[in-house]
Symmetry: C2
Subunit: 180 residues, 2 copies
Amino acid sequence: MSAPVRRTGGRSAAVLSAIRYAVEDLVRERGAEKVTIPMVAERAGVNPTSIYRRWGDAPAMLNDIATYRLDPDRSLPRTGDLRADLAAWAGEIVEHYRKPLNAAILRGGTPTAGERETDCLRNRRTEALQIVERAGAAHPLTADEVIDQLIAPIVYRAIFLPWTLDEDLAARLVDRLLPA
Amino acid sequence: MSAPVRRTGGRSAAVLSAIRYAVEDLVRERGAEKVTIPMVAERAGVNPTSIYRRWGDAPAMLNDIATYRLDPDRSLPRTGDLRADLAAWAGEIVEHYRKPLNAAILRGGTPTAGERETDCLRNRRTEALQIVERAGAAHPLTADEVIDQLIAPIVYRAIFLPWTLDEDLAARLVDRLLPA
DNA sequence: GCGTTAAAGCAATGATATTTGCTTTAGTTA
DNA sequence: TAACTAAAGCAAATATCATTGCTTTAACGC
């Protein structure tokens, strides 16, 4: 009774990739709320059943694909200066959500009541922890503060006020978080 | 060609009220993502068509009902002290989203791509403006700062980390916004 | 290569959601 | 209280989504 051997290459990989492109197009066109699985399947030239069996429903699919797009394994800024690190990191995230597609996926990937945090946001918290821990006792900054004052405003704007995500938002937020 | 005379009383009012109760029950039971229009129609003892014609789709309906739940015409705190006013106001909002029902409605009412801000959040911004303007030049505080540092963290937590909405969150956030 | 079987495709089915034209009810104003 | 007609109700027709058993394809390990 060992775990079945996964077959992730070849056709499966092609299908997955086609689905990703299809989802990205459709989310851009209609908004994440309105992409349905049969829709994605048709656009991707793939059978709906394949999607149902892989993810079960649309939110799960979106969440998975959103996570994929901001690489969880990318390297974090590490200049040695907390302010610079935070600014670079936050800037990266603002840049990410400035793309309408990513903002739309964020909106659509909102967790259902009682569900767990989305993968995408859990990753942000892990990164915040790394950055503040690296700074050590020099700056008494908690991950919660970073989430509340950097991530929350960015995500809030991405969801509700996407047109206010300008290039220097990250810098402004960091300045308020770490006054000179 | 004048605007048709609305008939909001009597039966229409009863229908609206029944729908509100039904939505609230259903959101509590299944989460906002999963309430469908035929579902609330049945629960409310109302014809689905009435809902389709009034709102068009479920997100619009949720947004409207969410707006109603935090009364846009309630009076704002007005102690004369900016810090106290902000704390009371933010506390009210935290309290609101501590009720799982309201958090769920918030999640479900998320705007679709390209759409306008939801009514509910637009109201928050109006309120923020009133509060900071009332304080005048004494405190150089902009509505944007209030949104970024009070509303955004609260809403972010309500959506993604609802279990972190504790009673003194509002106070902590205000303290960070207006250091002693 | 070859065999095993995971994963994709297909098709039929049942369940839901949405639209639409028409009828009925009853809110509003005079 | 009567006329006007907005809004609700009804029912039939569509459209869409989701599930399931079975068949076909082709990835992976030897």
